[in-house]
Symmetry: C2
Subunit: 325 residues, 2 copies
């Protein structure tokens, strides 16, 4: 017998994730189906906590992100996502929800919050309505809010090919960390949603996509065998291929700053000296230094010595999105 519903309220926690093989471009923009498979790991220490409460007293959805009421496009995107969950207009539960979301990482540090945000929103909204959804269903739902959010639903090392993402290795499979050199706190000029739509305008995108299975396979192998040298080679090439596409799209997306370049060279020099570190770069100027946990202090010191590095954030690998209460 189902437990009687006394409140339509739930809180979920989902982590950000860092892609090792990048997703860039959609085969279906509306559904956010990716043009190429990607691999990531969850960032245990960079997460979003979201509470969703459907409340009969509300006359519209209310959305608060990091203590501020969401406006315009951000508000509309959350409402659109709630629409996917709340279903029919004549459902028995209250129609409108109060969404209160909090990121534990600084806003505007260039850490993508849409992945953790839409993963947490999906899990919390479904739990609030006591909808019984599998991890795959939740991942697919999160994907429709933000492509990379699909990867923040399963835990550990995660792959994403089509409708939903799935775990390929648990968090404790390999003690890696992401040590992030934050070089800009400014907002991106071009958001990811618009950026993905520009991908096909680069004459290099088709070649990048055609080569993805090779890189995906090498990255999977590197993770399975805990082969850092192989991982370093493939993730740097993959990130540089994505930025090669970005910089040659029309209009071009030039995300790197001088300090981004300084970090890339410093990472490659540090690795040449025997330290297990490699870089990857999302759609922004920050450099994510993927390293073995044992050398994280060295990597942090390297970053702190570079002019233009505003902040260093570190994270271990985390588990799946969870219902907190």
């Amino acid at each position: 017998m189902p437990k009687p519903i006394t409140s339509y309220k739930s809180t979920a926690l989902a982590m950000s994730n860092i892609a090792l093989i990048k997703y860039w471009g959609n085969s279906n923009e509306a559904l956010r189906l990716p043009i190429n498979p990607s691999i990531s790991f969850n960032l245990r220490d960079l997460y979003t906590t979201t509470t969703v409460e459907f409340d009969a007293a509300l006359e519209r959805d209310e959305v608060v992100i990091d203590e501020a009421p969401a406006q315009g496009g951000a508000y509309a995107r959350v409402v659109k996502h709630l629409d996917l969950v709340r279903g029919e207009p004549n459902a028995t539960h209250p129609k409108f929800a109060r969404v209160i979301s909090h990121n534990n990482f600084p806003m505007g540090a260039g850490i993508a919050s849409s992945a953790s945000a839409f993963a947490a929103l999906s899990v919390a909204a479904c739990a609030a309505l006591q909808l019984s959804k599998s991890e795959a269903e939740l991942s697919a739902l999160a994907r429709q809010g933000s492509g990379s959010a699909s990867r923040s639903v399963p835990g550990g090392f995660v792959a994403w090919r089509d409708a939903h993402a799935y775990t390929i290795a648990p968090p404790d499979h390999w003690a890696l960390m992401d040590v992030i050199g934050v070089v800009s706190s400014g907002h991106k000029k071009t958001g990811s949603t618009e950026g993905h739509a520009l991908a096909p305008t680069s004459p290099l995108q088709a070649a990048r996509v055609a080569d993805t299975e090779r890189r995906f396979g090498l990255c999977e192998q590197a993770i399975r065998q805990r082969d850092f040298a192989l991982l370093a080679e493939v993730i740097e090439q993959d990130a540089l291929m994505m930025h090669g596409v970005m910089m040659t799209s029309q209009p071009p997306l030039m995300y790197w700053l001088p300090a981004s370049m300084a970090i890339m060279h410093a990472v490659q020099e540090l690795r040449a000296s025997g330290v297990a570190v490699a870089f990857t770069i999302d759609a922004g100027p920050n450099i994510h230094c993927i390293c073995e946990s044992a050398v994280a202090p060295q990597v942090e010191a390297m970053l702190n010595a570079i002019q233009g590095v505003k902040q260093v954030l570190s994270s271990q690998i985390g588990g799946p999105a969870i219902i907190v209460r």
Copy 2:
């Protein structure tokens, strides 16, 4: 009646050139036949003057570059080039030559000297032996020493598709300048000859090559119509495509420095404010700012204000390689 040869000595001057559509990769490494067509203009104010004298008193070739005897690979490359000119071992002229070459631009400023050097060497060596060669033959000869040297033989705006380069517009067709932000005086870790050989290892190279005719056509059109907006778009995309290939080759070639990135952003901002300037980048960290002559002072001021810019060099468009005496 041919004039009696009293001395086998000649001096030639050839300019450096800056490619607007880049050459990267060969279809035949030994012959330096390019995998894609390119477009450049000659740099009037950055040139090499080379004297070649075949002298019966010599027991081996002597090569002096910028007042220093050439050694090792540099010496061997000049000797190999002389071999292409001096022909049969039983020729009537003296076998060995004294080569004295001088660049008017600073060594190690990252300005490619091989283009002007092999163009000047080709013209001077043929003149010293009173070989009657057409511009096309001299261009093809220069090409075998250094691919881009083929473009320093004809004058003005130059195109190069296969054996030799040819003029597509005279120097005074369009008053453009190259204002170079020199950001490193260090020698390149990977020279161009090795770099060209790495081009096929990038998963993006084939797509870059396949798209070259489109860019070549747009660049030719921009030059013909003196359309700076079109020129800016196509040359920046072309240079970024080449660097996308370089950075994703195996091993990767990461030529840019922090100041390179700073200049790229500054150029794009300056252009957005209405100044006719665009960047291109050779196989190195220096940024070539292609601009209308009228705005060159503004571009120089912009470069001088950027941290990490060690020197600013400027050049107008120049004519063909010439015999000086």
